[in-house]
């Protein structure tokens, strides 16, 4: 479970308030979609959740462990697929995976078995000996997905994971996300692709200008809209999302 309580962040250099009093609860056994327009604060939130950025206010708990008090223990509880796959381009794929496995203290046998299985699933077996810099964006994204699962984390955090993936890999990823949640794990992912969120997510959170504008299930969103100014009926997530964000923009 991931819990964010009243998290705020203003960037020191630009003075932009990227996240403003955000509170979220991501329960176990749930696929949680994190939606928002460009610049809404999704990546900043994920960076705060994963300890890459320090919030000005608020706390983050990963499986009940406070990130600011026990950072290493909390970080061992999640695996991250970052928004940029361009990491360590001079390393070979197996060297990067070995590095991550060392960091998470995965035993020799476990790392070999898990990496071989995941590489097969994402059709990356033949590329394990290649330099990361020589791989396509999609391959690098697959490698980051594999790296995030080497230690079999309870919480899986993915920042725009579908971007750059071929249909086969996108399907494999969605399957893995479902399996992870079915085993009782948490999946928290940000996306721009509404169809994916609509089909995959048990719960959603929509963020705009750093503030949370909705959290709940798709049905909750439809109900909320029905009780609002306009009847939502069977509107798809995209229409609901656009209407909600537009309203928020007008209100602010």
């Amino acid at each position: 479970m991931i819990v964010l309580e009243s998290v705020s962040k203003t960037y020191a250099q630009s003075r932009v308030r990227a996240v403003d009093g955000l509170s979220l609860q991501v329960p176990d056994g749930c696929i949680f979609g994190f939606l928002g327009p460009n610049g809404a604060g999704k990546t900043t939130t994920i960076r705060i959740m994963t300890g890459a950025l320090q919030p000005d206010e608020g706390t983050i708990m990963i499986d009940g462990i406070r990130l600011d008090e026990h950072p290493e223990e909390a970080k061992r509880r999640f695996g991250l697929v970052p928004d940029t796959p361009d990491l360590f381009s001079r390393l070979k794929a197996w060297e990067f995976l070995n590095f991550v496995a060392d960091v998470y203290r995965v035993s020799d046998d476990q790392r070999k078995e898990r990496i071989a299985t995941l590489a097969r699933k994402f059709e990356l077996e033949d590329k394990l000996g290649s330099t990361i810099g020589s791989m396509s964006r999609g391959m690098r994204q697959k490698l980051n997905i594999i790296a995030s699962l080497v230690h079999q984390p309870h919480n899986w955090i993915l920042d725009e994971p579908i971007v750059g993936l071929d249909p086969h890999a996108a399907f494999a990823l969605k399957e893995l996300m479902r399996e992870h949640a079915a085993r009782g794990g948490t999946v928290f992912f940000s996306t721009h692709v509404m169809e994916v969120a609509e089909r995959l997510c048990d719960q959603l959170a929509i963020i705009n200008r750093g503030r949370l504008v909705f959290t709940g299930s798709l049905e909750n969103l439809r109900t909320m809209r029905e009780h609002g100014m306009q009847a939502a009926g069977n509107e798809d997530l995209e229409s609901l999302f656009l209407a909600l964000v537009e309203e928020e923009d007008h209100a602010s």
């Binding site: 960037y11 020191a12 250099q13 960076r47 994963t50 300890g51 890459a52 950025l53 320090q54 950072p71 290493e72 223990e73 970080k75 061992r76 991250l80 970052p82 361009d86 990491l87 360590f88 001079r90 390393l91 070979k92 794929a93 197996w94 060297e95 995976l97 070995n98 590095f99 991550v100 496995a101 060392d102 960091v103 998470y104 203290r105 995965v106 035993s107 020799d108 790392r111 070999k112 990496i115 071989a116 590489a119 077996e125 033949d126 590329k127 394990l128 000996g129 290649s130 330099t131 810099g133 020589s134 791989m135």
Partner: protein
């Protein structure tokens, strides 16, 4: 509306000379004002340094040649120097721009003529190298003009020649490189280009250094100068006779007819520009094909899957971090050539200085053999090891070099102290190499034995520990986290300038102290070693207590 060619040239020039001047409200920020003036002052000092270097050489040369009535040979020397230097620089610049070919692929997708692509690239290379030719020739011109009272037409004529000097090398560079790179798959690789260009560049710098050192050492010897300038077999004479731009420039300089002088200058310009146009017409399509081929990537399959999987083995985290540091630094040519490679480069540079100025080194040896100072030769060995080991900029840029992956690294459960200790060990590893090459090498040359050798090694180790730890602390406190090109993280990082100049200053101060303090033989080692131990301990303690907090606050 500008033509596509003019627009492309404008863009290439802006990309090549990305000098940013503060605008508007930025002038109200004291930090920006200070930084801008600091850079301007640095540029001015650098310019003044080169004016002094070339100016003093030209002045000494014209003075030495005056009794023989051979003053114009000073101009001949400047033209030959500019021609050779610019030829090599142009070749290297043309080669290095191929390493950026993938970035230029976007232009290939635009409706731009292949001719325009090549012409725009050649223009930016000309813009990079023309200032060198102009500088060398203009400095010589001013000295010659003032000393000899040259007529007014002499100056524009020679400036036109200086402007023409880089044109023919530019055309020849592409005449050589386009077929060479087209024919070699191995060379059509960014890393290969960077390594070849980097190593050739350093060799050229060493050669040029040797030439300058030799010239300065022999400047007071008229017989040497006469041989150098007038001997038909000398490089200066050969360049003047066989290299058309130099031949035309020399003809222009010695004639008393303004018409002939200006006509020779124009002929020089037309010849160079014509050669560039011919090359553009000949190679435009092959050049564009090369840009595409450079972007093909094709990293290959590398290791077989079973071999790669067999290599997955657990290690202690500190060793993992050290291995990562070494791999990432040594595999990035920009980092390697400007970092660990320095340990091999500097001894070579000093060897050249020694060969060029043996006589001066002889004086140094005499000073060292002076009673009271002879016993402290071990300090020289220790100092050279410290100098080499601390000149790699490994630790003082290690956080900056990680800027692109810092966000990800911070999301991993790596204790901050382990992360910085991995970086410290990386610096120490190459520091030790510096000690082996520097202290060890000099110890062999100076026949250091027993306690002298032990004192040199211990002092060098303490010095390296101090410089490595304080460098890392500096980068931890003030890293450069915003950069586009890897070289900006290392070479254009203020921390590497502070550490290199700081260590040079410190070693210089210690050298001075050795000459003024009267201590027992190993008293100096105790004093300097104690200082290094205090700096190292202070830096390490501060680093280990501050690492987590500092890393947490970094926002790449």
């Amino acid at each position: 509306m500008r033509s596509p060619l003019v627009a492309l040239i404008g863009l290439q020039l802006k990309a090549t000379f990305a000098i940013r001047v503060p605008a508007g409200d930025e002038w109200k920020n004291p930090r920006i004002i200070l930084k801008t003036f600091g850079w301007a002052l640095l540029a001015l000092l650098l310019f003044a340094d080169f004016v002094f270097l070339f100016g003093s050489m030209d002045y000494a040369l014209i003075e030495a040649l005056a009794p023989l009535g051979m003053q114009s040979y000073m101009l001949l020397n400047a033209i030959a120097t500019a021609s050779v230097l610019v030829f090599v620089l142009t070749l290297l610049t043309s080669l290095s721009f191929f390493s950026a070919a993938p970035n230029e692929l976007v232009f290939v997708t635009m409706p731009l003529a292949p001719r325009d692509l090549l012409l725009a690239r050649m223009t930016s290379i000309y813009a990079v190298n023309a200032p060198f030719a102009l500088f060398i020739v203009v400095v010589a011109l001013v000295i010659y003009g003032l000393k000899m009272g040259a007529p007014f037409w002499f100056y524009p004529s020679m400036v036109l020649h200086a402007a023409a000097i880089p044109l023919l090398p530019l055309a020849l560079s592409y005449l050589l490189l386009v077929p060479l790179l087209s024919g070699s798959r191995m060379l059509r690789n960014r890393n290969a280009i960077l390594y070849i260009g980097g190593i050739i560049g350093m060799l050229v710098a060493l050669g040029f250094n040797f030439y300058l050192q030799r010239m300065m050492a022999k400047i007071q010897d008229p017989s040497y100068l006469i041989t150098l300038m007038s001997n038909p077999a000398s490089i200066v004479q050969r360049v003047a006779r066989f290299w058309p731009p130099a031949w035309l420039a020399v003809s222009s300089a010695v004639t008393r007819n303004p018409g002939i002088s200006i006509a020779a200058a124009l002929a020089n310009l037309v010849m160079g520009a014509g050669a560039c146009i011919v090359i553009t017409l000949l190679f435009r399509k092959r050049y564009v094909r090369l840009l595409c081929e450079f972007s093909e990537g094709g990293g290959g399959k590398g290791l077989r899957t079973d071999v790669a999987l067999a290599r997955l083995r657990a290690k202690p985290l500190l060793l993992t971090m050290l291995q990562r540091e070494v791999a990432l630094m040594n595999r990035e040519p920009q980092f390697f050539l400007n970092g660990p490679f320095i340990i091999l480069l500097f001894p070579l540079l000093f060897a050249i200085m020694y060969l060029a100025q043996r006589e001066s080194f002889g004086e140094l040896a005499t000073i060292l053999e002076r009673p009271g100072a002879s016993g402290v030769a071990y300090l020289l060995a220790a100092g050279f090891g410290i100098f080499l080991g601390s000149s790699t900029s490994i630790t003082c840029t290690s956080i900056s070099r990680d800027a692109k992956s810092l966000t990800y690294l911070k999301s991993l459960p790596i204790p901050a102290n382990i992360l910085v200790l991995g970086k410290l060990l990386h610096g120490l590893l190459f520091g030790l190499l510096g000690i082996v090459v520097g202290t060890g090498g000099l110890a062999v040359v100076m026949h250091l034995r027993g306690t002298d050798l032990a004192a040199a090694l211990i002092l060098a180790l303490l010095g390296i520990l101090a410089s490595t730890a304080s460098g890392l602390l500096l980068d931890l406190l003030s890293p450069r986290l915003k950069w586009e090109h890897p070289v900006s993280a290392l070479k254009q990082n203020k921390n590497s300038v502070i550490m290199i100049l700081g260590m040079m200053g410190l070693l210089g101060a210690m050298g001075y102290l050795t000459t003024v303090l009267s201590l027992p033989k190993y008293g100096y080692a105790m004093l300097y070693g104690g200082f290094f131990a205090v700096v190292a301990t202070g830096s390490l303690l501060t680093m280990l207590t501050q690492a987590a907090r500092r890393l947490q606050r970094m926002e790449p």
